[in-house]
């Protein structure tokens, strides 16, 4: 009887999915215009085998104008800093900034290591990772010694950070790939990952703990997977090189020794070519779903409703939701595609999560697509996703790797930067929906900046809840995930047709704010212990 029910359900699901695939997407498709060179960004991520992976970008504000600036990994080329000079609602414009010369950079994440007024950077490298200390005015200095950070000598491709309960400074996780010096490398020779907890009273990151075994990770993310207010460390791993490995999640045990979740905990073995992690809450239960990029498919994991207790047991819903993205959607090649950076965001401001996946052949793998355009999977009213990359204008013949999704020109629409291997970085300006007269705005939006005070000022780990009508959207402020790429700054929400929203913040220490009432199409600053949100206006708009 039960078996029949499951069969019936499966049939129904298949029919529903087929119907979903046949249903045209009726929402707004944002029109993206690639304008990197015009905007002043001329950058390639290049190099040999070690740089087949990586290719990340960091987005953050380094000069206090609240516009996102960029740090781009270069592989064998030098990493570059680009300072945002875009006009509000206008053309994107960047000017190269001065930074210490750094080659062999695979990726980067912004982080405020010392809780001061300037953002710092962690540059992931083939070899010693480097902390770049922000000095203000987009000036940086190498600061491993200042922070007592041993950058190691691994091939690092992943990073994440979180302020653990009661800590003044962040806990850092470095995800490492292949141990090149081990016998038999690269097959089965994965380096350990590293967990670094700070000293209690100083931004001193000298105490490192190996997270062993490592399975050639390509992305790491601290995540509050069961919405209990504590963060564990999720790692996605590349089956191409590990032997006997699997996807991993480390329990941080409330500040205790890290411990791997195992089958006894309900964690189920999953082996993929894991490249990138993104999370969002698609089901509205406060517990995130995860998009894991891979080669040939994309996993979309949701906690299994039939799991026992509070187990981290997941069910793949990619097929149900239409996010498998398993082969190119255009170009005619019927072979698997290769996914890298994953990122949930609302690209068309319709109040539904969309999913971006950077795609591109590792180098010249014959069994995988050569022309492998990036995905833009737009969420619809029913919770399904529809591929609209071609219509959006992002289907370029470039091998995508890392990416940043942010609003570079403060017009309320998310732009997109993609770092490509051996090709120019792509900078896509979101022009809005195409109309008879050019372009028109899409749904309403809200952009939220948090100020958590003296410790963890950017409120990493905070959960933002935005309610419009019966719809609840949540976003956790994170450093980590994606593919070697991180960003921090205003958090963007699409509001659809809602003219206003109620916003509640669960701060990193667990304290929950009152609901605040804000109007759509504004940039909001919410300060801890201040019940009145403030509004921010970019330079020209005011």
């Amino acid at each position: 009887m039960q078996s029949m029910s499951k069969t019936a359900l499966a049939s129904a699901a298949l029919i529903a999915t087929t119907a979903a695939a046949d249903t045209p997407f009726t929402g707004d498709v944002p029109l993206y215009q690639e304008q990197a060179i015009e905007a002043g960004i001329d950058h390639h991520y290049t190099g040999g085998f070690e740089f087949f992976v990586g290719g990340g970008a960091a987005s953050f504000d380094c000069n206090d104008d609240r516009l996102p600036d960029l740090f781009l990994a270069g592989g064998q080329n030098s990493a570059k800093l680009y300072i945002n000079h875009s006009t509000t609602g206008g053309a994107l414009a960047f000017v190269a900034g001065e930074i210490p010369t750094l080659t062999d950079v695979t990726g980067a994440y912004p982080i405020n290591l010392d809780n001061d007024e300037h953002m710092d950077l962690i540059a992931l490298r083939l070899g010693e990772n480097i902390a770049l200390r922000g000095l203000g005015g987009c000036r940086f200095e190498t600061a491993n010694k200042h922070f007592a950070l041993d950058g190691g000598r691994d091939w690092t491709t992943g990073f994440s950070a979180i302020w653990e309960a009661g800590a003044q400074f962040p806990t850092l996780a470095f995800g490492n790939y292949i141990d090149r010096d081990a016998a038999g490398s690269p097959w089965g020779t994965c380096a350990d990952n590293q967990l670094i907890r700070p000293q209690s009273d100083a931004a001193d990151f000298s105490a490192s703990t190996p997270l062993s075994p490592g399975y050639c990770s390509l992305s790491t993310m601290f995540t509050d997977w069961n919405n209990r207010g504590a963060f564990d460390l999720r790692i996605t791993n590349d089956r191409q090189y590990h032997r006997g490995g699997q996807e991993q999640m480390w329990s941080l045990s409330g500040g205790g020794a890290p411990r791997l979740f195992t089958n006894r905990d309900g964690w189920q073995k999953l082996v993929i070519w894991g490249m990138g992690i993104a999370q969002t809450d698609l089901t509205g239960d406060g517990k995130p779903e995860y998009a894991l990029s891979s080669m040939g498919d994309t996993m979309l994991q949701s906690l299994d409703a039939e799991r026992d207790g509070d187990q981290p047991r997941y069910r793949d819903i990619a097929f149900d939701r239409g996010t498998t993205a398993h082969r190119p959607y255009t170009g005619g090649e019927v072979v698997p595609s290769t996914g890298w950076h994953t990122h949930f965001a609302d690209f068309n401001n319709d109040a539904r999560s969309d999913l971006f996946i950077a795609k591109g052949n590792v180098e010249a793998m014959p069994d995988f697509a050569k022309f492998d355009p990036d995905n833009l999977l737009l969420g619809d009213w029913r919770g399904q996703f529809s591929e609209q990359g071609a219509q959006a204008g992002i289907a370029l013949d470039r091998r995508g790797r890392g990416a940043v999704v942010t609003d570079f020109n403060a017009d309320g629409m998310l732009d997109l930067l993609v770092v490509n291997r051996d090709a120019p970085a792509s900078l896509f300006r979101n022009l809005g929906v195409e109309s008879a007269d050019g372009h028109a705005p899409m749904g309403n939006f809200l952009a939220i900046e948090l100020d958590n005070g003296a410790i963890n000022p950017q409120a990493v780990g905070a959960k933002i809840v935005v309610k419009t009508g019966n719809l609840t959207q949540t976003h956790t402020v994170q450093i980590g995930g994606g593919h070697a790429s991180g960003q921090i700054g205003f958090v963007h929400f699409g509001l659809g047709v809602a003219p206003r929203a109620r916003v509640q913040i669960k701060w990193p220490d667990g304290k929950t704010s009152q609901f605040m009432r804000v109007f759509a199409n504004n940039f909001i600053r919410i300060e801890r212990d201040n019940p009145e949100p403030k509004y921010w206006y970019p330079q020209a708009q005011n």
Binding site: T23, T26, G27, D28, D64, R66, N349, D350, D380, W381, R382, S435, A436, D437, A440, P441, M442, G443, N444, T468, G469, N470, L495, G496, V497, A498, P499, R500, R517, V518, F519, A520, N521, N522, R525, E532, P533, K534, Y535, W536, Y537, P538, Q539, N542
Partner: protein, 471 residues
């Protein structure tokens, strides 16, 4: 009054697609005549046709063949599905509660106010959307406002909004240039909306603004002042009261469905339909001060006018506000997604209100501005206090506006639209004056302290504020 029913049928037949329909079909033939919003400045003939259409839609008793009813959608302004089919097609509480706009807006004429029996029950429509009780635990009960002069009201609100936003912009520019915080007083057309502090970083502190929303957009419509445009209001009301859903909010672009309310009719209201409704409402004549035949009444009203100011009533019920431009454009520059936006039309509809016959009676000041005699300030005020709480009978805040706070009622037309109060439950002007508490307490106290004859003179004056078509 335009008499349109039969005439419209004949007039519109050549341009509509329903020629195959019988004239007696049980549907609204004016629907869909204009699929798209009209563009540009409307000529006399264009405007006449548009207004005929708008009036026909305003007066039409919508039927199920039109799409009336919303069995699977709530009254919420955001497209929201019911959890289960509505129990009945009509409900005086949760709605749909009316066959036509005109069934409530009819005192003293089409477009006017409504009696207590025409009250509506306002809820957000997200939870308990199918309430079947008048208990204030579930909704706020509101009287039906008249719509005369609505175009001028929206134009005034837009100009004030632009002024306030310009003040904010200037303050931010100064703060950025001087690298120091700038405190700016927000005043427009003589109305103070408090102060804001602009910081060099671009952050604006809005803790001291007054009577206006944080985005400094004046929303002049509804008794709480929460709707910025006739277009937005029309779309809201059409869904709430009739289950007629406008495609620009409930259509496939935002909901994935052409028939969001699942009543079997797709795309019930076109952009052109909404434009016609907006045009008709925006061009309704401004109420004016009527000159009674009785010398005694004239004398009393004159004294009442003086005391209206002396008692402080005119502090909020400002007798007139200056308007720079009489060009009404639709869409509004302040509407957001889900209501047609100016940025979505290459050539927005324009109506020159100054060309309309009733506009010739409006007074202009020395600067050439039209003095709109609205008897209001387009600002929200707290209306209750510990001793005077008659108007504090609601349990819900509405769209961020506290339960004791209301937009100053424009008094033009008040002589034609009894009863009074936001619940329409005060039968005389004397009663509603005595119900003023909170920010209006001093004026109310002055009225109560005045002699009986002074009080009657105030009433005599207010009774001259009439909707034009009465006389």
């Amino acid at each position: 009054m335009r008499l349109v029913a039969a005439a419209l049928l004949a007039a519109l037949t050549p341009i509509v697609g329903w020629a195959e329909d019988t004239p007696w079909a049980e549907k609204t033939h004016a629907l869909g005549v204009f699929d798209s919003p009209p563009a540009g400045l409307q000529s006399g003939d264009q405007l006449d046709r548009l207004l005929d259409l708008g009036e026909a839609l305003f007066a039409a008793p919508f039927t199920t063949l039109d799409g009336a009813g919303r069995p699977r959608a709530t009254q919420a302004i955001l497209p929201t599905k019911t959890k289960r089919p509505l129990r009945s097609a009509f409900a005086r509480t949760s709605g749909p509660d009316a066959n036509s706009c005109a069934s409530c807006h009819n005192q003293p004429v089409l477009g006017g106010a409504g009696d207590f029996t025409m009250n509506v029950f306002v809820s957000e429509g997200f939870n308990n959307h199918d309430f079947d009780t008048t208990d204030p635990e579930f909704s706020n009960e509101r009287g039906t406002n008249h719509l005369f002069g609505a175009g001028l009201i929206e134009l005034l609100a837009r100009e004030i909004s632009f002024d306030l936003i310009e003040l904010r912009r200037d303050a931010l520019s100064q703060a950025r240039a001087s690298n120091a915080p700038i405190v700016t007083t927000l005043t427009s057309k003589g109305i103070s909306f408090g102060t804001l502090t602009a910081h060099p970083s671009g952050i604006v502190d809005l803790g001291d603004i007054s009577g206006v929303d944080a985005d400094l957009v004046v929303r002049p419509f509804t008794q709480k002042g929460v709707v910025e445009s006739l277009r937005q209001f029309s779309i809201n009301a059409m869904n709430h009261h009739h289950g007629m859903q406008a495609s620009e909010r409930f259509g496939a672009r935002w909901t994935g469905e052409a028939d969001f309310d699942e009543d079997g009719i797709n795309d019930e209201l076109s952009g052109g339909d909404i434009s016609a409704l907006v045009a008709w409402q925006a061009t309704l004549p401004a109420p004016r001060i009527w000159a009674p035949d009785s010398p005694q009444w004239q004398s009393a009203a004159a004294k009442g006018q003086t005391n209206f100011t002396a008692f402080g009533c005119a502090t909020c019920h400002k007798m007139a506000l200056p308007l720079n431009s009489m060009i009404f454009t639709d869409p509004s520059p302040f509407d957001g997604a889900g209501t047609l936006r100016a940025s979505e039309t290459a050539d927005p509809m324009q109506i020159d209100l100054a060309q309309l016959p009733w506009a010739q009676n409006l007074v202009r000041n020395a600067q050439g501005q039209v003095m709109v005699p609205l008897f209001g300030d387009l600002k929200r005020h707290k209306m209750t206090d510990a001793e005077v709480a008659t108007l504090g009978n609601e349990l819900f805040s509405q769209r961020f506006v506290g339960r004791d706070t209301f937009m100053t009622a424009e008094l033009w037309g008040v002589g034609s639209t009894a009863p009074y109060g936001h619940r329409n439950d005060l039968t005389t002007l004397d009663e509603i004056i005595r119900a003023h508490g909170g920010d209006a307490r001093a004026s109310r106290d002055a009225y109560i302290a005045a002699s009986k004859s002074n009080q009657q003179e105030i009433i005599a004056y207010l009774k001259t504020l009439r909707i034009s078509e009465v006389d």
